[in-house]
Symmetry: C2
Subunit: 253 residues, 2 copies
DNA sequence: ATGTGTGAAGTACTTCACAGCC
DNA sequence: GGCTGTGAAGTACTTCACACAT
């Protein structure tokens, strides 16, 4: 049960729903595309279509940020880009370390979407001494031994774990001890972290299993409906999902 | 607006909440670990801790599957593994194709979690002729030209898109036309698909932006609370998030 | 006329709390 | 006595529908 808690009622009015936060990056991407095409304004209907949500949801989402639109007209693209970026904290620079430079770590290091959104890959870290010094995506890989120093020297608060499952908790503990307070975990393990540390998890095998569930269901329903008649479902893996309440406080041995 | 729809009320009793489905793989992983340690039974409390959720939620989740526990005792590990696997459709074999064999595609091809859960990488496909024939994770890469044939010959219904954003929609269209009905999309784009096709999206940059949002908020609250006092949040990226209702029906040019 | 902003209604998910079975 | 299974209560998110600003 730990400390009493109600998922942060917050100062009120600063209380942007988690589900909305999860969609802001989506809007931002759609807006950036419009901005690059020099589109000056956009309606909730158009932007919603581009982002893959419905317009009522989008308007409600934006209403949590403030009244940034103009009735009868729509939203100013540049202005919205700025407001959302600011709300997400992307107007500042976030140094990130990636731990575990296998195929996945390398893919992440090379991923362009990082740099373009206020994130900077400050360091790549791997446990394999043979990797040390090798450049990946133009950044030399450093050894795990120096993890703490790297975190502190670069003022890193966000860490990405792309190690094998067995190493993840240990890496996580060291990151947290060194001052990291947000972790993006690609290893298929449940990470245990102290209060105040945020963990987001991306698990490839889980995503596939969810697809398999729906796929199986489709096959079982192939009875009725001659032409394509099933409702489409377009979920994305980015969402709230578990305000949780109690962080696992157990050592899973 | 498309067809009327209420997010599939279904036959009733076959109506497992999406949020529950998203957690089943998590339980399955925890159970598999217990099974490997030959633990015969487990209580909702223990299993919930291992999976990182609270026990009431876990019990409610399991109640949608049926009454597979024993009051006063707990759950039989092997039996639960089987029931969840069956519910997720993992007792059958799912051939999967991965399109786009860059760093990420290679990482996915090498990812052990696939094979171990009923998924089989049936083929790797890339648009680069220079890649053709090269083995990645022991599987020779094939050229995009043969995509349709590969899908059909292998009876593939699940496709993974790991191409650059610009190619994703086109690849998606071809996959769907060839018979794929579930897509896991790693490209940072909103995919437009016909009704009946499931899309799940994994977007690294979105995950980081959500972390940045919370990170920023933490920094702003560093005023009160001397010792670690902030509520922990342990979300995972796998979740329901958007029953959506309306699939983007627009061509974003 | 057009399209935002938002109370109010509706839906989905979570947590509580306890009856019931082992 | 212990732990599951579940109605009932609580919370979070979505969608509707329309007043109101331009």
């Amino acid at each position: 049960m730990a400390t009493g808690r109600t998922h942060r009622p917050a100062t009120r009015s600063r209380g942007i729903p988690e589900a909305t936060v999860a969609r802001l990056p989506l809007y931002l991407r759609a807006l950036t595309a419009l901005s690059e095409r020099s589109v000056p304004t956009v309606s909730s209907e158009e932007l919603a279509a581009a982002a893959g949500v419905n317009s009522a949801k989008l308007r409600k989402d934006f209403s949590y940020l403030g009244s940034y639109g103009t009735r009868g007209v729509g939203y100013d693209v540049e202005y919205l880009v700025y407001q959302i970026s600011r709300e997400l904290g992307l107007t500042q620079d976030w140094p990130v370390v990636i731990v575990g430079i296998g195929n996945l770590g390398a893919a992440l290091a090379n991923y362009g979407g990082f740099a373009s959104r206020g994130f900077r890959v400050a360091a790549l870290i791997d446990a394999d001494p043979a990797m040390a010094g090798k450049p990946v995506a133009g950044i030399p890989v450093q050894h795990t031994d120096d993890l703490e120093k790297i975190i502190q020297d670069n003022g890193v608060s966000i860490g990405v774990i792309a190690t094998p499952a067995g190493a993840a908790q240990q890496v996580c503990d060291r990151l947290v001890a060194a001052g990291v307070t947000s972790i993006l975990n690609f290893a298929p393990t449940v990470l245990t972290v102290p209060d105040g540390v945020d963990v987001r998890k991306v698990d490839l095998s889980i995503e596939l299993q969810i697809l398999a569930f729906h796929e199986q269901r489709k096959a079982g329903e192939e009875t009725a409906a001659g032409d394509g008649a099933l409702p489409a479902t377009t979920r994305d893996a980015s969402a709230d999902q578990g305000p949780d309440g109690d962080v696992p406080a157990v050592m899973p041995a």
